[in-house]
Subunit: 333 residues, 2 copies
C-alpha cells in the first residue's frame, strides 16, 4: 500500500461564496427554493447579484469546506477542484492553501470564470444557494492524480459533482483508484434537488460499493428513497449502504450500519447565524474520526462539534481552531 | 442654491478589504506597524497575501464605509472613487449601490487592478492595514461632478486621498465647488502616518478654511501637532479648526469648537471583534447629525452608536440597520 499522505482527499466544485442577508420575501420574489441549491447560468447570476444586498466574499464549495475543516481539526487534507486563473480563482486557491490544505489542481486559463455561489442568509440562519458553476464545469478525469488518491485514507466526493459534464468521470476514476489502493470512498448527497436529478445513479453508487460511506441530511434521504417517512428511509439506507451518517440539524444525527444505529445529539449552541457549511463540517469531523480509528459515536460527536462552530458565524469555513474545540471536548487530536 | 440631493457625498479611495486574523508575531515578522495603514506596491501585496491566513473579502475604503453608514442611518449618500472594471471593481460597485449609495464614477478600463487593503485583525480586535492603491491612483479632477457636489449638504474627504497623485486636485476642486454652493466640507485625517506624510498641507487646509469640519483620532491629532500632550493638541485644533471631532476609542470623543468642548462617552459594547471602520462609522453618524441640524453632543452620540455597531463584527460596514439602532436610542431619523 502506498504511503499515507492525507487523512482525507476531497473532490468537489471549487467555488467562492457571495453571501448576503435577505428576507423570505426576497426569496419568494426571486423564485428561490428556501434551503436549496439551484444551478444558475450567467445571466441569472447577474440578475441575482444585481438584486441582492451588500455581500461578503468567502471561499466555499462543499467538499472544499469539508477539507478545510479536516485541516482545522489537525488532520491532513488535500483538495481537487477547478478554478479559473482569475481574481476569484486566486482567492479560492489562497484561502484553501492558507488553511493548510494541499491544492494542486491547475487553474483553467480559458473558459468561464471561477464558480461562485450567491447565498441568501435569512434571519432564521437558513441559507439558500444559487450556483454559477463556471470553471468548475471543466474538472476532468486527467485532473485526478492517482498517486494522491492512493495516498489518502479516505477520498471524499460531493454529489454536486454530478452536475458538471466530466466531473462524474473524474469521480469514478478516483473511486476506482482509491479502492484499488485499499482505501475508502465517501460521498455526500449534497442537496435534495441534486438527489432528484441523479437518484438512480446515486443509488447505484451506494448499492454497487463504489461508495463506502454516505452522508445525507433528512431531506436528501427522503428524496433518495422518495418517501416522506423517516424510518422507512433509514431502513432503506441501512440495507443499501455499509455506513451512513444522517444529519438532522438540531436533532443531531443517526449513524447507521447493518448491525447498529447510533443516535448522537447535536452540540448545543446559542443561535444559528448562518447554516451554510453545517453538513460540510459535520462530514469533516466524522471523516477525521474514521481516519483516526474512532468508534462511530465519537466520529459523529466530532462532526457535531465542527458543525456547531460553523453555523455560529457567516461563511462555511471555521473561524477558530476545530482541533482546540475538539480537544477541549475530550478528544486528543 | 441648487436642490439638496444628498446629505453627505464622500470622496475616497475605492477599496476591497481582504481581512484575515493574525497574531502579533505575524505583524512583527512582516514588519507591520500595528494599528497603522501602510501603502504597499504590487510585489509586497503578493508577498503579504501569500503569507496571510484564509481571508474574507468585504468592500471597504474609509470614506466609502462612511457613506454606507450614512445610508444605513436613513440619510442620502453619494460616493466618488475609482475602481477598475475587474471582479473586485464590480464587487465594490455592487456592494456600495446595494447599500443604497449613489456611485457614478466610471471604472477604469486600463491600468492597475482595483485597490485592495490587506487587513490583519489581531485577537485584541485591532486592525493593521496594508493598502495596494491600484486603480484608486487614477482618481482625477474630471471625476468630480460639480452638480453632485453642489447638491450635497456636506462633502466629505479622506486624508488618504493625498496619496494618489491626482486625487488631491480632485479633493481641492470638490471643496471649492462645495463652498461656492454654500455647502460644507469635512475631512478625516485618516491615519497618523498619513498625517506624517502631509502634515503641512493638512494644517493649511484646516487653517485656510478649505475644510470646515475635521475628524481625528488621538494618534492623528498628536501627529498633526507633533506633541505627546493631548491637551496641547486639543487646544491647537481648537484654534485652527471651526469644528473638530476627536475620537478616543473606548474613552469616547471630544467635540471641539472655539466656544465649547463637549466630551461624549463611547457606547458600551461587550467585545471588540474588529476595529476596522470605527472611525469611518463615527464620522457617518456625526455627519448625519450635522446634516439634520442636531446639536454637537447628539452628533457625537450618533457617531458613537454607529461606531459601536461596526466594531462588534468583522468588516467595516454595518451589518444591521443603523437607523433602527439610532431610533431605538431615542433619535428620530
Amino acid at each position: 500500500m502506498p504511503t499515507l499522505r492525507y487523512d482525507v482527499l476531497g473532490i468537489g466544485n471549487a467555488i467562492v461564496d457571495v453571501l448576503a442577508r435577505a428576507d423570505d420575501a426576497f426569496l419568494a420574489k426571486q423564485g428561490m427554493n428556501k434551503g436549496g441549491m439551484a444551478l444558475i447560468d450567467g445571466p441569472r447570476a447577474e440578475a441575482i447579484y444585481e438584486a441582492m444586498g451588500p455581500a461578503v466574499e468567502i471561499s466555499g464549495g462543499s467538499a472544499a469546506n469539508t477539507i478545510v475543516g479536516v485541516a482545522s481539526l489537525g488532520a491532513r487534507g488535500a483538495f481537487v477542484g477547478k478554478v479559473k486563473d482569475d481574481e476569484f480563482g486566486r482567492t479560492f486557491a489562497h484561502d484553501i492553501r492558507a488553511a493548510g490544505v494541499e491544492f494542486a489542481t491547475p487553474p483553467a486559463s480559458t473558459g468561464p470564470a471561477t464558480a461562485r455561489c450567491y447565498i441568501m442568509v435569512t434571519p432564521d440562519g437558513e441559507r439558500t444557494m444559487n450556483t454559477f458553476l463556471g470553471a468548475a464545469q471543466d474538472l476532468h478525469p486527467n485532473d485526478i492524480d492517482a498517486d494522491a488518491i492512493a495516498a489518502a485514507h479516505i477520498t471524499y466526493l460531493e454529489g454536486y459533482l454530478w452536475d458538471p459534464p466530466h466531473a462524474k468521470e473524474a469521480f469514478l476514476k478516483a473511486a476506482k483508484i482509491a479502492h484499488g489502493a485499499g482505501r475508502r470512498v465517501a460521498l455526500t448527497l449534497s442537496d435534495a434537488f441534486c438527489v432528484d436529478r441523479y437518484r438512480a445513479e446515486f443509488l447505484d453508487l451506494i448499492r454497487n460499493g463504489t461508495v463506502d460511506i454516505v452522508f445525507a441530511n433528512e431531506r436528501e434521504l427522503h428524496s433518495l428513497y422518495e418517501t416522506a417517512d423517516f424510518d422507512t428511509a433509514v431502513n432503506a439506507i441501512r440495507t443499501d449502504a455499509r455506513l451512513a451518517a444522517v444529519t438532522r440539524s438540531e436533532k443531531g444525527c443517526l449513524v447507521v450500519t447493518r448491525e447498529q444505529t447510533d443516535a448522537v445529539r447535536a452540540e448545543p449552541i446559542e443561535k444559528i447565524v448562518d447554516a451554510t457549511g453545517a453538513g460540510d463540517l459535520f462530514a469533516a469531523g466524522f471523516l477525521v474520526g474514521i481516519a483516526r480509528g474512532l468508534d462511530q459515536r465519537n466520529c459523529a460527536r466530532l462532526g457535531a462539534i465542527a458543525a456547531a462552530e460553523v453555523i455560529q458565524h457567516m461563511g462555511a469555513r471555521p473561524e477558530t481552531s476545530l482541533k482546540e474545540l475538539a480537544n477541549a471536548a475530550g478528544f486528543s487530536l
